[in-house]
Symmetry: C2
Subunit: 448 residues, 2 copies
């Protein structure tokens, strides 16, 4: 019986041409992380269910992929007509696939706290899984690339993450990058001055939608959540403030707000002193990053020519590890969205040329004797670090050339009777189309 | 309520020092693959259950991790006291985690056959999961690194995989590597001449244990499986044959056996003509590789100083994709065991020095004004590609130096009032212990 060849919905195969592009992005991000002193860690794909549940809200809990216990899992439980899926899940599944890299990282820090020297700068590039409804740009398996600095409240970390973002997107050659920055303490202060601190979460959620729904709808929604007219007029003042110093005036009355402004000022003043390579740092009071666990500075990185949402985002959190019993570990982190970065680079043509060429030289195959002869030359090329291969069989030249073409090969080497008897090989330049006779050592020199 | 911080059994966290070593192995393997013209692909962590079940035998089926369907999975099925785990699994789980890279690759090839130019040389480095009993060196999540060439029967592929293995282990600086080679057709011929072709699988399984249980036990087990005394004496002749040519004499009577010897001879003669860098190629008639899907040449790579089993293995298979409805796709592949390679390299001290140093320079932090000054210098170092960081707070120098020490930093830069007013920075060499005053540009030159 044959099995149908298909992938589960929302999951992807990556072909060589896509993988070459993805690997290019990974290597740029990785080398930026390492240049900034971040060290790699990895955590397992599966965590104990209790590590993950209750950390992402009810919706998140539903989207976690659960792994069935091995063996005769029913022998340890009862299953009858009254069993609900939720109850049964707890009894037959004690592991689940990671939903993000942050909770596993927090678990890692607590579990390994005696071996870690703080401040701890780690990066992590691994897949996460979510049983989300698949749609354009949203997958059930995707890669997250996170860098975090934990165990220090120093704002130097915030400065570093802004510089790191600039470094990554500059190296990737992506133009028009805007790093938006705000501070949760500023938002706290604003909501305090609006006179409705108890509505903080609702206000932040509505504010986060400003881009999409517009100011009138924002006001309407806030009003129906219970924000007073006065509160809304205060909000408008904030939204119209053009820079941080103007904000500082409004926020004088709130201790938290003042602290937030100070933090923002320290970061943005130092960044403007240091200068960025290509990105722009921009203060944005409407930046809220949902109702996440952030407590201080928050960032979001956007590319201004492609409408795709943010390509990176992060912020400071004060209580990452407390849920695992370790209090007072402040941290700040950033997460790069590889899928979106990929889409932006495709659309703007940012990938280097020939990125999916992985064989520079192909030896054509003219028969048994000739191919054995080629193996020796092939060895010489590879010893000089030149990626190369021999077509494995002596099929029609058209087929061999087609293969070379599809693989983006630079030169095809042709060795027949003549070449075996002379000191010269015949080399065809696949781009220019011309052929030349050349010695192998000249050829190697040419390629280096 | 706090959650206990722990990982599921058989699953591992990788700390920075381990990740630096693992990343080093990955990069060596990856660059060897690419130098030989293999292209990267990736497949999703989850496959449809039907893609995986029935491909690895009954034991394998039991060891596959199944993923619970999302949502209210019970609403679509009945569960009562008569339900068995096996029946219920089918109804509540339609996806599973990949068990190896070979079956997903076969599925990939069939699903993407119209976009693939054959012969197709691909490599794949991804985790696989098995619900195995965890024990020393056996994990429930581990990385496989496979390279395969499919769509050609040419023995040039076999030669390439031998050369590739030599390349990988030579680059990793691992001494005393032995590449054992045999051919399933030779084994077929031998069993035919032993007079019991119907016992092929049993004989091969017993033979595979020769190393561990010795010749007497092998004979005993074969005899109890039904091999005649004459058969066993034929086996002994084979085991005592010292090289391929001697074998060729014995195998004259078997067509399959003769073909196998020819294949072995072609590969080994060409390899000895080409020469290997550091590895030894050795013919080994006892090499059987279980009752796998192999049909031609089989390989196993061993390190002779460390008793750990093979560090790589593979072979030719004729029917990889037929189970997905695509016949006659011959292929040959090799799989590198990263965990075992890691253990061998640890034991033999093969890792380069300073492999887990990822920050070369640390700026000590003497206070607010000084640290802002450092940020400018730090930027200059990073612009010159030198990985560096600033300690984020001005805590006691002892703590800062301890951090630098733990991170394996080469130089600590100290900037106080004096340095800010002069053109010189103070640099402490962490290995030699001495300090010097030097200009930043001299320092950068020194580091490059």
């Amino acid at each position: 019986m044959t099995t149908k060849a298909s992938t589960p919905k929302g999951m992807r195969d990556f072909s060589p041409s896509v993988m070459f592009r993805r690997n290019y992005i990974f290597s740029v991000v990785k080398s930026a992380f390492e240049k900034y002193g971040f060290s790699p860690i990895q955590t397992p794909a599966m965590e104990n269910s209790e590590t993950l549940t209750g950390k992402y809200g009810d919706e998140g809990d539903r989207l976690i992929f659960k792994v069935l216990n091995s063996g005769d899992f029913l022998s340890k439980t009862n299953c009858d007509a009254n069993s609900t899926s939720k109850d049964l899940t707890k009894k037959i599944s004690d592991k689940a696939l990671r939903y993000d890299l942050t909770v596993p990282f927090a678990r890692y820090v607590v579990q390994n706290r005696n071996d870690i020297t703080f401040p701890f700068k780690r990066y992590q590039m691994q897949n996460v899984w979510r049983a989300d409804r698949p749609q354009k740009g949203r997958f059930r398996e995707f890669l997250q690339c996170d860098a975090d600095i934990i165990g220090t409240k120093s704002l130097i970390s915030e400065i570093e993450l802004v510089q790191l973002s600039d470094e990554v997107f500059t190296s990737l050659n992506i133009p028009n990058i805007e790093i938006c920055i705000n501070n949760r303490k500023v938002l706290n202060g604003m909501v305090e001055i609006m006179g409705c601190p108890e509505l903080f979460n609702n206000i932040v959620i509505i504010l986060d939608k400003l881009d999409r729904i517009g100011i009138d709808k924002v006001k309407e929604e806030m009003s129906s959540e219970g924000v007073s007219e006065e509160g809304i007029s205060v909000l408008e003042k904030f939204l119209n403030s053009s820079d941080i110093s103007e904000l500082s005036d409004f926020l004088k009355q709130s201790e938290t707000g003042k602290k937030g402004v100070e933090e923002l000022q320290y970061v943005s003043e130092n960044i403007s002193k240091l200068g960025l390579k290509t990105a722009q740092l921009k203060f944005d009071i409407t930046l809220a990053r949902g109702i996440d666990y952030y407590t201080g500075c928050i960032f979001e990185v956007k590319q201004n020519d492609v409408k795709i949402g943010s390509v990176a985002g992060g912020g400071r959190y004060d209580n990452l590890t407390s849920v695992f019993g370790l209090d007072d570990v402040s941290g700040v982190g950033i997460s790069f969205g590889i899928d979106r970065i990929y889409m932006v680079m495709e659309e703007l043509n940012c990938f280097p040329e020939n990125i999916d060429q992985n064989t520079r030289i192909m030896f054509a195959n003219f028969g048994k004797k000739e191919s054995v002869f080629c193996l020796g030359l092939l060895k010489q090329l590879r010893e000089n670090g030149i990626s190369s291969e021999l077509y494995p069989t002596s099929v029609k030249m058209k087929k061999q050339m087609n293969y070379a073409d599809k693989k983006g090969v630079e030169f095809v080497v042709m060795i027949g009777e003549d070449e075996m008897n002379s000191e010269k090989i015949t080399v065809k330049d696949m781009k220019l189309g011309n052929q030349e006779q050349i010695s192998i050592s000249e050829f190697i020199t040419k390629l280096q």
